[in-house]
């Protein structure tokens, strides 16, 4: 029986870590250098290489989406036209929405870090369907380029929600962009399906369901949503594309159709999609808080069950986006109550994370700095979500900047913070190098302060009554908009710093060794960067649960709750 794997991951770094990370073991070269031809990268089925290719594209789309965000903020500086005309602005906020949601937020953490770390965490060689994994990358790129082609040839101005009857009657080019997004939906389904089957069938011996790392639980819940929700919006996109061409008027009031029915079907996907974006970040943060406070997770099962709870109940709450859209009061009540339940699951997670730090040993590194920002933003963003779900307040806040601030608090506050945390946390695992810790903390301060300065004023704008998607606004809103634009430039500057020191570390960073954070997570058992088939020799058995930092001499371990 080979030595129980947990001891090797223990503090005592085995000798072979002293080598330079790359030439660690010539018989099993790291996946980065195992085949350097272009074809070996483009046609690889290695989940780690596919993850890196996803990372490249996702960062590129994040940059494009971010540029659109800055353009919007600059336009908002003055009540009248500032740097663009009305139609360009309408296109800009639509593209910002479309690119950020479909091309960055939804695939970001699952496709990059899910792909890279999931097999490592399960002790498996690869995901269940490696070829499907590569196909999902190319489907994603095909859809992205079709959508971008549509955006460049006229672009649509319907907002990312493309409500009918406007989306079926606008003269801007809606069809290619929506059909591109429809294709991207398949990549999302393929990734979700792949992960579910991997988690069900590829767990190494010794890993039972309740010894799975919490990032795997979060990915499982996310994949279930991806598989079950995406087809509905795929159908909607095909119908709207069809209506652009044939005008058959399924949701057209003149033909007796009902635009509110379109909203029902749209939000049936789009609310669970919000949980696709945020659940993986909850998973990453569970790993980060356990590693950097060197403590087992407080209420492991509570967090695991709440991930599944969010995924399941998240399907029954879509109506809270339609309180003032003509939907009946009865439906508003039903959707409002169920939304309160979903809020509770997030509250459980937050309390258990704070509980994890209790009696821990906190090492304040950059990922942990992002965890602090994440914690505050999730509490604040989540509570404002509950506030908006109390129906009566939503009558005032719906479609104003309050809602914009709320979902940015969750999307940027939770998911982008988690995305940055996971880049820093798994940077050594992916590239075998370490980034500069000082610059990391500096950038984190910029990001957290810049984020607050951008979106707190937008909450106040919402209270003050400024509607969203407004190219020109009454003068009284200008002061807050200027503050928000200032905050946005601070945030952008933070991202610039990150990109500088991370690219520097990529090339000149000092080798990180196998386990720089001394973490007991399963993914740190294999080498960093790991060889092509993740494990050298026979498959390791995982006798202990993840993140077990108990002193072996002291009291024996009660069973996990």
């Amino acid at each position: 029986m080979n030595p129980s794997s947990s001891t090797t991951a223990d503090g005592v770094l085995p000798a072979h870590d002293a080598h330079d990370a790359h030439g660690a073991d010539h018989a099993h070269p790291s996946y980065l250098v195992d085949g350097t031809t272009i074809k070996s990268w483009l046609l690889t089925v290695d989940h780690k290489r596919i993850a890196l290719m996803y990372l490249v594209w996702i960062l590129l789309f994040f940059l494009v989406g971010g540029i659109f965000a800055m353009a919007i903020r600059l336009e908002m500086l003055t009540p009248g036209p500032t740097i663009m005309d009305a139609m360009t602005y309408n296109r800009t906020f639509t593209l910002h929405g479309m690119i950020m949601i479909f091309l960055f937020m939804i695939p970001a953490i699952p496709a990059v870090f899910g792909n890279f770390v999931l097999p490592l965490m399960l002790g498996a060689k690869d995901v269940a369907f490696p070829r499907l994994n590569l196909a999902s990358l190319y489907i994603y790129l095909a859809g992205a380029f079709l959508a971008l082609w549509g955006m460049l040839n006229g672009g649509l101005d319907t907002g990312w929600t493309f409500y009918t009857p406007y989306s079926t009657h606008t003269t801007t080019t809606v069809a290619p962009v929506l059909f591109g997004a429809f294709i991207i939906g398949f990549s999302s389904i393929a990734t979700g399906l792949n992960f579910i089957v991997t988690i069900h069938t590829m767990r190494a011996p010794g890993i039972t369901w309740f010894k799975l790392p919490l990032f795997v639980w979060a990915l499982y819940a996310t994949s279930c949503i991806q598989v079950l929700a995406t087809p509905v919006i795929g159908l909607l996109m095909v119908i709207v594309t069809g209506e652009q061409l044939f005008h058959f008027g399924l949701f057209d009031p003149a033909r007796g159709g009902d635009p509110v029915l379109f909203q029902h079907l749209f939000w049936f996907y789009s609310h669970p999609a919000v949980y696709i974006m945020v659940l993986p970040s909850f998973g990453v943060m569970s790993e980060v808080v356990a590693t950097y406070s060197r403590k087992n997770l407080f209420g492991y099962r509570a967090i695991a069950y709440s991930s599944l709870g969010i995924a399941f109940v998240g399907f029954f709450v879509w109506g809270h986006h339609m309180f003032v859209s003509g939907q009946s009061t009865f439906d508003a009540g039903v959707f409002g109550v169920i939304t309160m339940l979903v809020g509770v699951f997030t509250a459980i997670k937050v309390f258990n994370w704070v509980g994890t730090v209790y009696k821990g040993a906190v090492d304040f590194k950059t990922p942990f700095a992002y965890f602090c920002g994440f914690l505050f933003f999730t509490v604040f963003g989540g509570m404002t979500g509950i506030a908006v779900a109390t129906t009566s307040l939503d009558v005032h806040w719906h479609d104003t900047y309050f809602v914009v601030a709320h979902f940015h608090f969750i999307m940027v506050g939770a998911t982008v913070m988690a995305f940055l945390a996971s880049i820093h946390y798994w940077f050594p695992k992916m590239f075998g190098r370490v980034y500069h810790e000082g610059w990391g903390l500096v950038a984190a301060v910029f990001i957290v302060l810049g984020f607050n300065a951008t979106f707190i004023p937008q909450f106040l704008l919402g209270n003050y009554g400024m509607p969203r998607r407004y190219f020109e606004y009454p003068e009284r809103y200008q002061a807050l908009n200027v503050a928000s634009t200032a905050g946005a430039s601070l945030l952008a500057f933070g991202f610039v710093i990150i990109s500088v020191y991370l690219t520097y570390a990529l090339v000149y960073g000092r080798p990180s060794g196998k386990n720089p954070w001394r973490s007991k997570g399963y993914e740190w058992i294999s080498d960093s960067p790991p060889p092509t088939h993740n494990f050298v020799g026979p498959q390791p058995t995982f006798s202990e649960e993840p993140h077990l930092y108990v002193d072996p001499k002291k009291a024996e371990v009660p069973n996990a709750v």
Partner: protein, 156 residues
Amino acid sequence: MSVANESSQEAHNMQEHHSSVRYWVVWGVLLALTGLTVWTGSIHIPQFGLALALLIASAKGGLVLLFFMHLVDHKGANRLVMAVSVLFVLMMLIMPMADLATRYRPANPAGSHLSDLPDLEFIEGKKSTHNRAGGGAHGSGQAAPGGQQAPSPSHP
């Protein structure tokens, strides 16, 4: 339940080999049910016609799922997948219909029996160009002009 025994149990189920009679029986039942639903459908039972048709369709669907697609042999996760997706379909159906049922009447699709039309008369361009056989009472007594019943004046 570790994954090993789930798949070996499933493989074991799939291995025991029934004769092909089972499929022919299921086929026969399906045809009988089709005949039944066509017959009951064509006599248009007022209230329960839809419920009966759905019942028969679900029965046929269940048969196809269990025997033709071997869901009866497959274990755990596969059944969960089917159950959850059917539950979501039902939820997706119930809430919008409840919405239309309990909505402020004139906010329902105009011309449908869920909304009384008179106050929609003002919508310029949204003329109700055809008489409302069963629709809501038509406020202004005057039949909507245009369409096939406009009196075609003899040429002056």
